[in-house]
């Protein structure tokens, strides 16, 4: 699929109890936000490993959001406190090695903050668009890769399907 315009790829690692539910609430409230962000659900923000963020960048993410319950409101009492310390350090480390601060953002979004979820996603998307594609990292990703010719099987089906749509 060729895209005319570059669209940022953003991953959000969110906790099950607050931010995921907040995102659900944004949905039930029919709030609108950009479609660039895909959510990966974990049980608690305390369970998000910094390597997940590196993996996301390795898989071409232009930005990452990590979000959990507000301090004191963790479903597991303290997971987000441990997360907070971890992320503070990790963010500083990435900054030092030259990854722009806005590439990795953090928020506390409760289950009742559907609006905040939509706002945060909108903000993060805007920030990443302002930064542009994460070229530095993507250059590393591009090393030792190759472009495969369109796969016979999947590709043809895609085309066939489109024809079907246009004909019928």
């Amino acid at each position: 699929m060729s895209k005319q315009k570059w669209e940022p790829k953003i991953v959000a690692f969110v906790c099950n109890w607050c931010t995921y539910a907040g995102a659900d609430l944004a949905g039930t409230s029919r709030l609108k936000y950009p479609a660039n962000t895909k959510i990966i659900r974990v049980m608690c923000s305390g369970g998000i490993d910094p390597v997940f963020i590196l993996k996301a960048f390795e898989r071409g993410a232009d930005g990452v959001l990590v979000s959990g319950c507000h301090p004191n409101d963790c479903h597991y009492n303290a997971g987000n406190f441990h997360a907070r310390r971890r992320w503070d350090l990790f963010h500083k480390l990435l900054d030092f090695v030259g990854i722009e601060k806005d590439r990795l953002q953090f928020s506390w979004i409760s289950a009742s903050e559907g609006k905040k979820f939509a706002d945060v996603i909108t903000k993060v998307t805007k920030d990443i668009i302002a930064l542009g594609p994460f070229k530095t990292y993507q250059d590393m990703n591009a090393e030792f890769t190759t472009v495969f010719p369109e796969f016979a099987e999947a590709g043809n089906k895609e085309i066939a399907y489109e024809e079907e749509m246009t004909n019928g």
């Binding site: 699929m1 669209e7 790829k9 991953v11 109890w17 995921y20 539910a21 995102a23 659900d24 609430l25 944004a26 949905g27 039930t28 029919r30 709030l31 609108k32 936000y33 950009p34 479609a35 660039n36 895909k38 959510i39 990966i40 659900r41 974990v42 049980m43 608690c44 305390g46 369970g47 998000i48 490993d49 910094p50 997940f52 993996k55 996301a56 898989r59 071409g60 993410a61 004191n72 409101d73 963790c74 479903h75 597991y76 009492n77 303290a78 997971g79 441990h82 997360a83 971890r86 289950a111 009742s112 939509a118 099987e153 999947a154 089906k157 895609e158 399907y161």
Partner: protein, 665 residues
């Protein structure tokens, strides 16, 4: 591995913005996908049948459903999968509604996102491992926190069902706010008359262990297996010896050093006291802060008069630990602090009404005490300032409530009713008096409630004025109440002898702290959150913790009692079987790889991680590794992220699964 993909249109909820056939079609071309289809309502009976048939027909090993949030129908689809022979944990939901179709307008973008969400779910489901539910034993004992009417009702219901109850009350006596009330609406029966028998029943019930003057300081564990630590504050009276004769109280020379909080500070109490004559248990407490003995080591009058030798100045706080299966939180409410705003307070206060400055401007609970036959005035309506009978009295409703600028946006719900009741009581006792009520709206929804208010207006001639009071000031012993009659459209000025403010119910001061102790969420006001506003109103989001009464939101007595009985039945349902099924989303240590740094143990919020020694052939310890108690683990995964050697995996969300999701971005 053969994967089936099922894309739901949710009527038009998803298909309006997501091209569902295209998503299903795309999925079909992905590695591992055997079968892919879209359908109008996947959660409907035919939809579920479609899934089950496909599983059987195509011999699917795992399925992905692109539908609404897993919080809605994950269980539905898991059950469908189970009935077709697939492990429920080999079902993944791609959230195409709440996280996609409902929040995006552009069909192209939403469809592409949906494709990616489905792809991520497919990659995850490939790595999912079949899991089986964990069974844990249940301790059939309930901890009820709060001995007001809600706590009392819950405790009695559970105890009468044959289960043990530990009832913890912070104050020296149970009874709560209800014991302070004079009469109750809409029947005007005496509050204490109906409450006291219940209190005594609690005290005498063989299944109820009553811990008054105690607080819950720590809660560990999980549903069916909590461990609660309760601090029993020192009464300085030996409960086993005290006969409740009250001689120490009458002889105590320190009579006027502290306000009587039960009387809402309208009277004093001695250094040794019972909160009120009908207190349960009828055992006094020595107030260390005012007792002469603690000041200078002298006095000891109580020791001299107590023929049972029950006075024990050396008594210390004690800690009790109880195994608990379920917790009912019934901590009740307090009233809005209507004085001026303080820097610490999130409320602005009502300085303009002169509460705290003018002694005859009182709040609702103070009026209850004045109107109560057992109160400081023995039920006669008298002004606190000079003891005179007020001939003109003004009630102001919605003080604090429904006023975001003062810090509270919600309706306190019971004030319309209790104001009508209080005005009525006043009229019954002061026949020649005039009663005015300033109100915003009258909210008298409830059986016989509106009739009750009409009675106050029509039979007892209470004068209702729709409007707000802007200011109260004192002039020649009268309180000039300036307000507005918004119906007549003119200013009103009343020279009242007494003013009663119907202040809002707010959560107890330490409500957030207790919530953090137990591990339950609360709203911005401090009221505890129910698990679902409609369908699970008496459960907290923490399994095994239930909510009764005004700690959840403002409530009147019948509602609190109903809620209490509901929580009791929840606890009894939990106790109906000897073991409890738990979700198998728990962490597990790979002992081979564990380096034994025990950072996991430090971060575990539930104390689920223990040290396990690995010994050599001679029985000498050569390695210490972490071991996770599966019954205690709640599956947050904080240990997995903290573990440096990545020797811990959280079932259902293991790292391989999450990496696969990331890879499918």
């Amino acid at each position: 591995m053969k994967i089936g993909v099922f894309i739901c249109h949710c009527g038009e909820n998803i298909s309006r913005t997501v091209d569902c056939p295209r998503v299903a079609h795309f999925a079909e071309g992905l590695p591992g996908v055997e079968y892919s289809i879209d359908y109008k309502y996947m959660c409907s009976d035919p939809g579920q049948k479609l899934i089950k048939d496909a599983i059987r027909e195509h011999k699917l090993d795992a399925i992905v459903v692109g539908s609404c949030s897993p919080n809605m129908h994950e269980r539905t689809f898991r059950n469908a999968a189970v009935s077709a022979g697939i492990n429920p944990f080999l079902v993944e939901i791609a959230n195409l509604r709440e996280h996609c179709s409902w929040v995006h307008d552009d069909v192209e973008a939403a469809t592409e996102k949906a494709i990616e969400l489905v792809r991520m779910a497919i990659e995850k489901v490939k790595r999912d491992k079949p899991l089986t539910k964990i069974r844990v034993p249940v301790t059939k004992r309930v901890l009820v926190i709060g001995g007001g009417i809600a706590g009392i009702q819950a405790a009695l219901d559970i105890a009468n069902a044959g289960y043990e109850v530990v009832l913890v009350e912070r104050e020296p006596s149970i009874g709560g706010h209800m014991s302070q009330l004079s009469e109750t609406f809409p029947t005007l029966d005496c509050s204490q008359c109906i409450l006291t028998p219940r209190m005594v029943e609690v005290y005498q019930h063989p299944k109820i262990k009553l811990l008054t003057y105690s607080e819950v300081v720590k809660v560990e564990g999980f549903i069916g297996n909590f461990k609660a630590t309760i601090k029993k504050k020192a009464r300085h009276i030996n409960e086993d010896l005290c006969s409740g004769c009250g001689l120490c109280i009458t002889k105590c020379p320190t009579k006027k050093k502290s306000y009587n909080s039960f009387e809402e500070n309208l009277a004093f109490r001695p250094a040794v006291y019972v909160p009120f004559p009908q207190a349960v248990p009828n055992i006094p407490v020595i107030d260390e802060t005012v007792c002469m003995y603690y000041k200078n080591g002298k006095c000891g009058m109580c020791v001299k008069v107590c023929d049972r030798g029950a006075i024990d100045f050396e008594q210390k706080d004690t800690m009790l630990v109880a195994d608990i299966g379920a917790i009912i939180v019934a901590t009740g409410y307090k009233l809005y602090n209507i004085e001026k705003a303080t820097p610490e307070s999130k409320y602005k206060g009502y300085g303009e009404y002169g509460y705290g400055k003018y002694r005859d401007v009182i709040d609702g609970l103070q009026f209850e005490r004045i109107a109560s036959a057992s109160g400081p005035t023995a039920g006669e309506i008298k002004r606190p300032s000079d003891g005179k009978e007020p001939k003109k009295i003004v009630f102001i409703q919605c003080v604090g409530s429904r006023d975001p600028s003062k810090g509270i946006s919600y309706c306190s719900k019971i004030c319309c009713m209790y104001t009508a009741k209080q005005a009525m009581l006043y009229k019954h006792k002061v026949h020649d008096g005039e009663a005015y009520v300033f109100y915003m709206d009258i909210r008298a929804g409830g059986k016989m409630y509106d009739e009750f208010v009409r009675r106050a207006i029509e039979e007892d001639h209470v004068k209702y004025i729709r409007g707000r009071v802007s200011k109260i000031h004192e002039e020649n012993g009268k309180y000039i109440v300036k307000g507005e009659d918004t119906i007549a459209g003119m200013p009103v000025e009343i020279d009242a002898d007494m003013v009663v403010l119907a202040t809002a119910m707010i959560p107890q001061d330490n409500a957030p702290k207790l919530a953090q102790t137990i591990g339950i969420p609360y709203d911005k006001h401090g009221f505890y959150n129910e698990a679902h506003p409609k369908l699970r109103p008496v459960e907290s989001t923490t399994a095994g913790v239930f909510l009764a009464g005004a700690c959840q939101s403002p409530k009147d007595i019948p509602e609190s009692v109903a809620m209490a009985s509901a929580t009791a039945s929840k606890a009894i349902i939990l106790f109906a079987s000897d073991t409890l099924e738990r979700e198998p989303v728990v962490a597990k240590v790979n002992e081979d790889l564990c380096a034994g740094c025990f950072y996991c143990k430090k971060v575990c919020p539930f104390g689920a991680i223990e040290v396990r020694d690995i010994k050599d052939v001679n029985g000498i310890i050569y390695k210490e590794v972490a071991y996770i108690n599966q019954g205690v683990c709640q599956g947050c995964g904080t240990c997995t992220a903290t573990c440096l050697s990545k020797s811990i995996e959280l079932a259902g969300f293991n790292n391989e699964e999450i990496f696969a999701e990331i890879a499918a971005l």
